[in-house]
Amino acid sequence: MTYRNKRIIMNNIIMTLSTISAFIGLGFLFWILGVLVFNGIEALNLAIFINEGAPPGYEQSGLKHALVGQLLIVLYATAIGVPLGVMAGTYLSEYGQGSKLAETIRDISDIMMSAPSIVIGAFVYAIIVIPMGHFSGYAGAAALAIIMIPIILRTTDDMLQLVPSTLREAAFALGAPKYKVIIQVVYRGAKAGVLTGILLGIARVAGETAPLLFTSFNDNFMNTDMSEAMASLTVTMYNYATSPYEDWQRLGWAAAFILSMFILGLNIIGRLFLLRKRGK
């Protein structure tokens, strides 16, 4: 066999193998999506959005409590996590050039980003739930915010650093004070990237279950009081899906479907921002 033939055969083998692997991966993805969409849409109806949780076998059961709880927890987490993350990222990029402190914060934040979310749940359990004496929506929001901060901090830092320093200098050269340079020029230049980071950060925490189990726990009924235990789509999904009751399981599918669409939506919007930015 000539060297050339060997090479062609080898090439074909590798290509076939990698193509097959790609299809296996894609196959699983579409399988999951297919099952999710099939079961989710089947379970979906208007009543789900109107009714609260109910005992198994009960006609009028729904997910309103979990939807509202999820939105509230994510909203509060966003309200805490986004300003802190963006401001910390701004500090790293704009004020901490070359400083030891900034480098340390960057490293710690990278470590935090890879910390298992259940550990953060346990931490919040220890510092908020135990002193308060009970689970609460606030504790859930705090746990999600802690997960969100390093993600937003990192993307903000990276995106602000992408803004050319000549742009900052040009603003300074016109007599702008530093905070105006940051707000009016640097933020503007990095807007799409920072927004994408925020959306991806929200999407990331919206799908978290483990840290909520320890913190906001669950509530089968409608509750908008953040200082009490609170339902969320993820925990509800976990409870319903693992229950033996068929109608609960169907609600679990609906919760999974709604959550997935929400997260998918955030991801798509985030990516569109970036694409639009690049297209310019």
Binding site: E169, A170, F172, A173, R188
Partner: protein, 261 residues
Amino acid sequence: MATIIDVPEEKVLHVNNFEFTYASSETPNIKKLSMPIAKNCVTALIGPSGCGKTTLLRSFNRMHDLYPGNTYEGEVLFEGRNILDAKEDLIQLRTKIGMIFQKPTAFPMSIFDNVAYGLRLQGIKNKSELGDRVEKALKDAAIWNEAKDRLKHDANGLSGGQQQRLCIARAIAVEPEVLLFDEPTSALDPISTQGIEMLVSELKERVSIIIVTHNMQQAARVSDYTGFMYLGELIELGETEELFVTPKEKLTEEYITGKFG
């Protein structure tokens, strides 16, 4: 030794025994430099790469203060005071001594907002006043005709040459006394370059201009005085024509005849 003439005109800036050292540098990057800058004239700075032209230029609006650890020594007199003084109000100074960079630096906002940026910083809020001054600046920077129908559009949609003229409009809108140009045409095509050069010649009626350039023809075309720098020192400052035709210093002659650089 250096040959530095005195200028007959009024001096807008006066550099005396100026030294500058970057934070990371052991020895001064600009050494004991003295020179007058004539008012309402164009002064060109030429010299081989790394000789300190940019460094000197950026000292005049204290740009080096944006990065920690850089040190100034000596005097740069402007309006009767030493602007290197620690008490100097940098924001005030930078509105009086503007700067145009090598690459266009249009802000990510509309054409109008770009030009209005410096004006707004000065607290001008009145819509019609802003409008008038933006229009005037754009006209003075010879970009009004191209920009007038798209003032609300993103400035990044302009060509490189147009963006550079927009930056000039933005800088002159605040009516500075001095404008510093650091190789303003090195990123531009010949036609845009010609446009900027014409603009520089026109602008000197109102502002004093210092321009760094690698292009000796450009220095000869636009400037009244030319300074030749080498290794952080000013070797020769003279009337442009004289410096290029009959340089006094051997180094200057070698540089302008292309023997090194």
